[in-house]
């Protein structure tokens, strides 16, 4: 920026953090409007439900990633951990034949346990989060293949398992809008995470850690314990994603998962959460995840060639972060 820049921002109003959410939200609206105008098939109940369904797994993963990223950390293991949790559910339900709630509980506990391990390695052993979760990513990928015998585990013996994601409790009350349960679970997880972030000590320390970890330590807070807590909670949320994807596919696919962490991180970043920590919102992440799936779905409906879909998604990620940088510059 040189002295030729317009003197427009002389005493511009203070732009609050809400602005970025507004920006992401208006981006989402703009996309929806553009696609609706471009194709009559876009704004159909069935298609909107398909978009929401496509958002559910990535949305839940992104929420987990948001928690960790706000602490200034990163979790590369969310994708393969999701698979691991799905496989655990498969073992409990299909191999052991136990009742469905135990399978769900098992998946969530497996996620929490893995988060505890990651958090402990990061907080106690001081291994940087990038490395620690990269290691966990591979460990979990391998364990999923080992436990499953490298074959998908099908849930054919657990009737109703695929209703967790695909069924619609809402549809029984309002038959016109059969919102899949998976989507309602996403919203429930989002509400829970937003509550924890905004209203509980765990949430407060999540922001505080990302803002200035040393200051938190000097304030007499048991930094390690809370940090492990954040990773554990993120792990538990990933466990929910594991149940969702297993239910949707009616199987635990052990080879799946790697690469999903990047989509989750993309949703977080588009939603305005800073990778350097200290700031972020669940609502933003939800919008970020929706932008990704609206984009993918809309471009498909418009029969845009797949090569170009990828290019456009990349552009949106860079644009979103650039918008965030502009926002900071004007702050």
């Amino acid at each position: 920026m040189t002295d030729t820049a317009a003197p427009a921002v002389k005493t511009g109003p203070r732009i609050s953090g809400a602005f970025h959410r507004l920006l992401a939200f208006s981006g989402l609206i703009a996309l929806v409007v553009a696609f609706s105008l471009a194709s009559p098939n876009f704004m159909q109940t069935q298609n909107i439900l398909a978009i929401l369904q496509a958002t559910s797994v990535n949305g839940v993963l992104a929420i987990a990633a948001t928690l960790v990223i706000i602490t200034g950390g990163i979790d590369l293991s969310v994708g393969t951990l999701m698979t691991f949790c799905a496989v655990i559910a498969g073992v409990i339900l299909t191999y052991w034949g136990l009742p469905m709630p135990l399978g769900i509980l098992g998946a969530i506990l497996a996620g929490t346990a893995s988060g505890l391990v990651s958090g402990t390695v990061i907080a106690k052993l001081k291994v940087p989060p990038f490395i620690a979760t990269l290691g966990m990513m591979l460990i979990l990928k391998g364990l999923s293949l080992v436990i499953s015998g490298t074959r998908p585990i099908y849930f054919n013996d657990t009737p109703g398992f695929n209703q967790i994601a695909l069924g619609s409790v809402v549809g029984q009350v309002f038959p016109a809008v059969p919102v899949p349960n998976g989507v309602m679970i996403l919203f429930a997880v989002a509400l829970l995470a937003a509550f924890v972030l905004g209203k509980t000590a765990l949430g407060r320390y999540t922001f505080a850690l990302g803002s200035n970890e040393e200051a938190v330590r000097l304030s007499g807070v048991n930094v390690d314990r809370w940090k492990i807590g954040v990773y554990a909670m993120a792990g538990g949320i990933v466990g929910v994603a594991g149940v969702l994807i297993a239910s949707r596919l009616n199987s635990a696919q052990p080879a799946l998962g790697q690469g999903y962490e990047l989509d989750a991180i993309a949703a977080v970043v588009i939603g305005g959460t800073s990778l350097s920590g200290g700031r972020g919102t669940i609502l933003g992440t939800l919008i970020g995840a929706l932008i990704i799936s609206v984009l993918a779905n809309g471009l498909r409906i418009l029969s845009v060639a797949q090569e170009w879909q990828t290019v456009v998604t990349g552009c949106i990620i860079i644009l979103a972060v650039y918008a965030d940088i502009l926002r900071r510059r004007t702050l």
């Binding site: 002389k10 005493t11 407060r204 990302g210 803002s211």
Partner: protein, 513 residues
């Protein structure tokens, strides 16, 4: 509450004796000693590296001691964590602000002990409690503001509020006024006096002699990790304290100011503007002249320097060097025009602390040492580096010593050498002696005088008035982005302060941020 220091108890609040502490390769404390009475302000002084902060970090549970005893209210204690120190009624305000920028003021104050109802944070009570503390400090500040939107001074006040919120009986302040202006310092001292009256013991670490005289009851002086002595502040001359700190007597050097009025103008700045930070600033510096820049924190001095140097965007304004207008869009252009900027924060902006002295000196001039095929001429670099180490008297075992291992004053000299090697004849120094020992300060002053005598044009930005007065041929004073006046070198402190607080009558005072 039983662990808290009883306020009515006679005898010292704190007695630290024979404290030893070593870090790998460094002996930080050797038989250090300190005593604090209730209702006393006890200054702790010493040059950088004397061990003041280390000693206080031991008292506040950040470090553990290797040897010695700590008595709190007459009872031996083992303080193993900041949390435990807080529970014992020992609060500390750290030198580097230890705040969480993305949290609000209230959230910062109560971090670690948020009021909760049924496990849910009670934000309303949090803000009310914080507002009550601010009110008791006579501080107008909205507790729901995020810390990052506050000025440094306000952030400092939040730190103090945080320490007060623990109802500490012992309060350690490590350079609390480093970022405060006079009005804010007065507020702080009022708070300190109130705490004193309540029987709180205050440890006051500072380099500023005038503050020590104003606020401290006793002064303990440390040198090289050892206890030197404790004196009464009221009846000990400043010179005595300084000589105890440095271990020798410093002669008060006065400097003969040569007349530079006839010299050609080296740098001229016309109508520089940027938002509310820089408002229509114009001035010039002649060859051989030192132009001091005085003003309160946030007056816009650093902003002017960065705008001239091209480090920040400017909205309008011209820069003329040696009678020619130069377009400066980035630091690269400024350096090409012969302008060097030595920033306030050397470690962040001026010095590559991981590189050695030789490479730091050559850093801005690498093209000159680049031979065919891009290979660097190490021998040439070494020759120049060694020459500057000699002429600037940089204390370093060799030119291959890592810059981070040098003392603050010598790091500053390395940065100066870098710009001299780059043929910069206009040098802008932003707080050149911040964080530098008393002894090294006078060396930097001599160096600046020498550079001016060689015909360099020099701008010195400093928040320490005695420094500005001692160095400058002329003194430019800024207030709220405007240049409120340029005074001759012999101006009085009162006159400078008048210009530094000369606000526009119509200017409404707006909230920080």
């Amino acid at each position: 509450m039983s662990a808290e220091v009883g306020s009515g108890a006679p005898g010292p609040l704190v007695e630290m004796t024979d404290i030893d502490k070593s870090f790998p390769g460094v002996r930080a404390l050797a038989k250090a000693r300190f005593e604090l009475l209730p209702g006393e302000v006890h200054a702790l002084m010493g040059e950088n590296g004397a061990g003041k902060s280390t000693l206080m970090k031991i008292l506040s549970g950040v470090y553990s001691r290797d040897g010695g005893t700590v008595l709190l209210n007459g009872q031996p204690v083992e303080i193993t964590s900041p949390r435990q120190a807080q529970d014992l009624g020992i609060g500390i305000i750290h030198q580097e602000l230890a705040l969480m920028r993305d949290l609000t003021a209230a959230q910062n104050i109560f971090i670690g002990r948020e009021p909760r109802r049924f496990g849910i944070l009670d934000e309303g009570r949090l803000n009310r409690d914080a507002a009550a503390i601010f009110a008791s400090m006579n501080l107008r500040l909205d507790p729901t503001f995020k810390v990052e939107t506050l000025t440094i001074a306000k952030q400092q006040m939040v730190e103090i509020a945080k320490a007060l919120s623990y109802r500490s009986r012992v309060l350690i302040m490590d350079e609390p006024t480093a970022a405060l202006n006079d009005a804010e310092i007065a507020e702080l001292f009022a708070i300190i006096n109130r705490l004193k009256a309540e029987g709180v013991g205050i440890v006051y670490i500072s380099h500023k002699m005038d503050e020590i005289k104003r606020i401290a009851d006793r002064v303990t002086i440390m040198r090289d990790g050892e206890y030197v002595g404790t004196v009464r502040a009221a009846d000990t001359p400043i010179e005595t304290i300084i000589s105890m700190m440095v271990g020798r007597t410093l002669s008060a050097e006065t400097l003969a100011i040569p007349n530079t009025a006839a010299a050609p103008v080296a740098l001229e700045v016309k109508n520089l503007n940027r938002g509310r930070e820089i408002r229509d600033v114009s001035f010039s510096v002649r060859r051989g002249e030192i132009l001091g820049f005085a003003g309160l924190m946030g007056a816009g001095r650093t902003e002017v320097a960065r705008a001239i140097f091209g480090a920040d965007r400017r909205e309008s304004g011209e820069v003329w060097v040696h009678g020619k207008r130069v377009g400066i869009a980035s630091p690269k252009d400024a350096v090409a025009a012969g302008i060097g900027y030595l920033s306030e924060d050397r470690k962040h902006f001026g010095l590559a602390i991981g590189l050695d002295v030789r490479n730091n000196i050559a850093l801005a001039s690498l093209p000159r040492f680049t031979g065919p095929g891009g290979v660097l001429d190490e021998a040439g670099m070494q020759k120049e580096a060694v020459a500057y180490i000699r002429t600037l008297a940089i204390k370093t075992p060799s030119d291959t010593q890592e810059a981070r291992l040098l003392s603050g004053g010598n790091q500053q000299k390395v940065v100066i050498a870098k710009w001299l090697l780059r043929d910069c004849d206009i040098l802008i120094f932003d707080e050149p002696t911040r964080g530098i020992d008393v002894g090294a300060k006078s060396e930097i002053y001599k160096l600046l005088n020498g550079l001016a005598a060689e015909g360099k044009a020099i701008i010195v930005i400093s928040s320490e008035l005695p420094e500005v007065l001692r160095l400058s041929h002329r003194i430019a004073v800024m207030c709220e982005g405007r240049l409120t006046g340029i005074l001759p070198g012999g101006a009085s402190q009162e006159e400078i302060m008048r210009l530094a607080t000369l606000r526009e009558p119509a200017m409404q005072v707006r909230h920080a941020g």
